[in-house]
Amino acid sequence: MSGKLKVHVDQDKCQGHARCKALAPELFDLDEFGNAHEAGDGTVPAGLEDKAWLAKSNCPEIAIDVTEA
């Protein structure tokens, strides 16, 4: 599994800027309040790694973690 990425949104930090959803719609979902959650279990499909890093580096609240699974 090495090399596979996972994204995770810290719910205590997310304030619903929705930048991640705009930049990586495949990796994040928004709830009824507009707060973000990782899609599914957060596993980043092959080819979307750059989008995962882009979402992380544009979150104003630093609420997104990208880890290697």
């Binding site: 304030q15 619903g16 800027h17 929705a18 930048r19 959803k21 705009a22 930049l23 928004l30 009824e32 309040f33 507009g34 882009l54 580096s57 544009n58 979150c59 104003p60 609240e61 630093i62």
Partner: protein, 413 residues
């Protein structure tokens, strides 16, 4: 929530004079004409001096000058209250609140959650066709003239009509809303009586719309707020509903008017960026974020409730804080080439919509309006430039954007 012991009597003259600033580091004033005209070099000077500076004006006020210091204050709801969100000459007793922007924890979260669902990105997609139509109706009115004041004829009318549409109030009342907002956000810094009158007029206006909906409910934001329930399942008080409606109208208009105007101003004087956006329309989302960073219109405020230390600087209770998200966005420690507009900037954690719990409720609406307004303008008027015979003027104080933006269409002869 008012606290009479802390209220400072309204003893300052209605229209107090602000002497011109000569020492920005120790005597800053965000209503000084130099700041209004071009604040960016001022912020650079202040940032070099200290992460937090102070002025005796406005009955005592700090300003964080770095992204880090702005963030520390925005996240610290223990020492900093949002009960006053505008830095003014006076601090009269608080009688009109506008939840959730003027709320602190624990009241803040439930008040904010009521407003969030109508403003999600999906909800904004439904409103987008109406905004596109508004933009084209406006362009139809002036395109044949070959020139226009883009602030007065275009950017001014888009957000006000969009929020009126959402609230379910007549778009034709727009001029009234714009007058109130000018009186509250600009004149109100120095003139309390004018501000109070505008708030009362606005409250009376919404009270009439609420009464009408008690007879005939409609499918709009006013009805949504009237039907909302608080944490205990009880209807909101009339005061809460009226406060939130005032907030939506005040916060939703000249903020985005300013952001669209500043973006058009930038594109009018920067043909390379204009041509690039037309050639690479897929760049639009990143470009909008960059324009929001570089020309963030909104400066908020906090009131210091308890002594603390921010970025190593002591901060004393009883002072206000000018919370300049626009200055944070120009901090070179966080944004390389901070004073340059880079349309494809990859990393952009800008604070135009605030940081922490008070993130702008309308941020998705603002982004959609900006995107649509710029797209429709570029489609119909791909070539344009500032009119050298005209003068660009900027609004003063809490929200900065062009209020006069004379533009000529077509390529220079």
């Amino acid at each position: 929530m008012s606290d009479p012991a802390r209220a400072i009597p309204d003893s300052a003259p209605a229209l107090s004079d602000h002497p011109p600033v000569t020492d920005w580091v120790h005597d800053f004033d965000h209503t000084d004409p130099q700041w209004t005209e071009n604040p960016f070099p001022i912020w650079e000077t202040l940032r070099e001096a200290s992460p937090v500076i102070h002025t005796d004006r406005f009955l005592g006020c700090y300003m964080p000058t770095t992204y880090q210091a702005v963030k520390e204050i925005a996240y610290d709801t223990e020492h900093f209250s949002s009960r006053r969100v505008i830095v003014r000459d006076v601090r009269p007793e608080i009688v009109n609140t506008a939840p959730p922007i003027t709320s602190d924890p624990p009241e803040h979260k439930p008040a904010k959650q009521l407003l969030l669902p109508p403003f999600t990105p999906d909800a904004m997609k439904k409103l987008e066709p109406r905004v596109r139509a508004i933009c084209n109706e406006l362009i139809d009115e002036f395109i044949a003239d070959g020139q226009c004041d883009a602030a007065a004829r275009y950017t001014k009318h888009i957000p006000v009509r969009a929020i009126a549409h959402m609230l379910g109030i007549p778009e034709k009342d727009s001029d009234l809303f714009i007058k109130w907002i000018h009186e509250i956000l600009e004149l109100g810094i120095r003139d309390d009586a004018t501000m109070m009158r505008a708030v009362q007029e606005m409250t009376g206006y919404f009270a009439g719309h609420i009464e009408a909906r008690k007879q005939n409910p409609t499918d709009d934001l006013i009805t949504t707020m009237m039907n909302a329930r608080d944490r205990n399942g009880q209807p909101l008080s009339d005061g809460h509903v009226l406060g939130s409606l005032r907030l939506l109208l005040i916060a939703g208009i000249d903020t985005t008017w300013s952001a669209i105007g500043a973006s058009l101003w930038h594109l009018a004087k920067t043909p390379a960026d204009r041509d690039r956006l037309i050639a690479e329309p897929e760049l639009m989302p990143t470009a909008i974020e960059e324009l929001l960073r570089a020309y963030a219109p909104v400066t908020m405020a906090r009131e210091v409730m308890k002594d603390t230390v921010i970025s190593g600087c002591p901060v004393k209770s009883g002072n206000m804080v000018l919370l300049s998200f626009p200055a944070a966005n120009r901090d070179p420690a966080v944004f390389p080439d901070a004073d340059k507009v880079v349309l494809d900037r990859k990393e952009n954690r800008h604070a135009a919509f605030g940081l922490g719990i008070h993130r702008c409720v309308g941020s998705n609406l603002a982004r959609m309006e900006m995107t649509v307004a710029i797209e429709e303008w570029l489609k119909r008027i791909p070539d344009f430039r500032l009119d050298p015979a005209g003068k660009v003027t900027w609004s003063e104080g809490t929200v900065r954007g062009p209020r006069q933006l004379p533009i000529l269409f077509g390529k220079p002869a």
